[in-house]
């Protein structure tokens, strides 16, 4: 059941990020829909499954995105693991904690992508971070709402 939910979430997240989110709101607010799913898996099942989920999500993203293989996988593996660790150290059932963890993961992922893709050099890091803040907050708030909906639908709760 747990793995079925993970696969479902990853498919949903990748689909959102690569289609609707990038087409409709991506130009103005590039919402990160994959990272919250990885964080959800990490908070539900711990660091190891968070890392595995992150690797799977990152690898699949690498396959469909134009950049080199392994880059997204490495980032999301580390972030999934870190999110799992953060969940163990905090009260992860708290919504504010979930939002904070998702925000941190999204922000780090965007920064890592910016550095790897060269955007940080071209745009300038301070401006890039400033531009990334709205997307980070939006993704985190959306994630909190999605977490609650997924928990109710599947019965897999963050405890």
């Amino acid at each position: 059941m747990m793995w079925a939910v993970m696969v479902l979430l990853l498919i949903l997240g990748t689909a959102l990020e690569t289609s609707i989110a990038s087409t409709w709101v991506g130009h103005y607010l590039p919402i990160d829909a994959v990272s919250p799913m990885v964080v959800y898996a990490a908070l539900v099942a711990g660091p190891r499954r968070g890392a595995v989920t992150g690797f799977a999500a990152g690898f699949f993203g690498d396959l469909v995105e134009p950049h080199s293989l392994g880059r997204g996988a490495l980032t999301l593996t580390l972030l999934g693991y870190a999110a799992g660790l953060a969940g163990l150290k905090t009260v992860r059932s708290n919504v504010a904690t979930q939002i904070a963890i998702v925000a941190a993961v999204v922000f780090v992922r965007k920064a890592a992508e910016a550095f790897a893709g060269g955007a940080a050099i071209a745009t300038g890091l301070p401006r890039l971070l400033l531009l990334g803040l709205p997307a980070t907050l939006a993704s985190a708030l959306l994630a909190a709402w999605v977490f609650r909906g997924v928990s109710r639908a599947t019965g897999v709760r963050i405890r």
Binding site: I11, I20, W24, V64, G84
Partner: protein, 276 residues
């Protein structure tokens, strides 16, 4: 937690290995799978795009019609502008008594045409005031109302103008011919006149001022059994396309002064002003 580390290291190593390798690892196949799996989402996204494009297309079509209408209006305004510019250049040459007017209607058909002009008694227009364009004589005012008047053009069967050939000063009467054009009649058969000669008003009769162009000789034919000649004229005014005319409210007006070429100053010959 300790059991998690080998898994993490394995995944990190695997990721780094993927980054180091130049193999695409079946990216095309993955993209195909991605397309199949996420087709509904892509369709939803593209469907939104198509909907937007349809709306945009509809708006652009409406805009195209508006622009076509505006373009036609601007073209018309441009042509009117050219005509009015010509009129503005013309009016100072004939003085203030040349009253600009607009042809607002036509009566009488082709057989006996009359022009309706938007100037009347209120503007100082009276019967027999000549009507001209910068090209030449149009006709004369035959009826006047408060705010408009009727003009009898030269091609009207009842209109006759005393005229002469500008070059040879041969006189005659300009009237309409049976073909609907103009002709200079009552001309001596052996008079000095030929194709290309310009016929102008003579000033006799007291209606039309002297020297205004009427037409250009095209051909000569015999009249009254060979005693007189009739000269067919090409009118200088296109009566079928008249829109703006001038009513000469001062009958003593002469023809428009010719436009003089600008005086060229010769460099080096300008006398210097005496020093104080």
């Amino acid at each position: 937690m300790r059991g998690d580390m080998p898994v993490l290291l394995l995944l990190v190593t695997l990721s780094l290995g993927l980054m180091a390798s130049r193999d695409s690892f079946g990216k095309d196949a993955a993209k195909t799978l991605h397309g199949i799996l996420f087709f509904p989402f892509e369709a939803a996204a593209n469907g939104g795009g198509v909907w937007h494009a349809r709306e945009e297309n509809r708006a652009l079509r409406a805009r195209l019609v508006e622009l076509a209408a505006e373009n036609a209006r601007l073209e018309e305004a441009g042509l009117e502008n050219e005509r009015l510019r010509a009129a503005l250049e013309f009016r100072p040459r004939v003085g203030r008594s040349a009253l600009p007017a607009e042809v607002v209607g036509r009566r009488g058909g082709l057989a006996a045409p009359l022009l309706v002009v938007d100037r009347g008694i209120a503007d100082g227009v009276r019967r027999n005031h000549p009507v001209v364009t910068p090209a030449g004589i149009v006709g004369r005012v035959v009826e006047v109302a408060a705010n408009h008047c009727w003009v009898m053009p030269l091609i009207h069967p009842e209109c006759k103008v005393s005229a002469l050939v500008r070059r040879s000063r041969v006189t005659g009467i300009v009237e309409h011919d049976r073909a609907g054009g103009l002709a200079l009649t009552r001309v001596p058969r052996l008079a000095d006149i030929g194709p290309g000669d310009v016929v102008v008003s003579s000033g006799l009769g007291g209606v039309y001022p002297a020297g205004w162009p009427i037409g250009e000789a095209v051909s000569i034919s015999e009249e009254f059994g060979g005693l007189l000649a009739q000269v067919r004229l090409q009118s200088v005014v296109d009566f079928s396309r008249l829109e703006e005319v001038f009513i000469l409210t001062d009958p003593a007006l002469g023809p428009p002064a010719p436009t003089l070429p600008p005086v060229e100053e010769e460099l080096g010959e300008t006398p210097e002003a005496p020093s104080p």
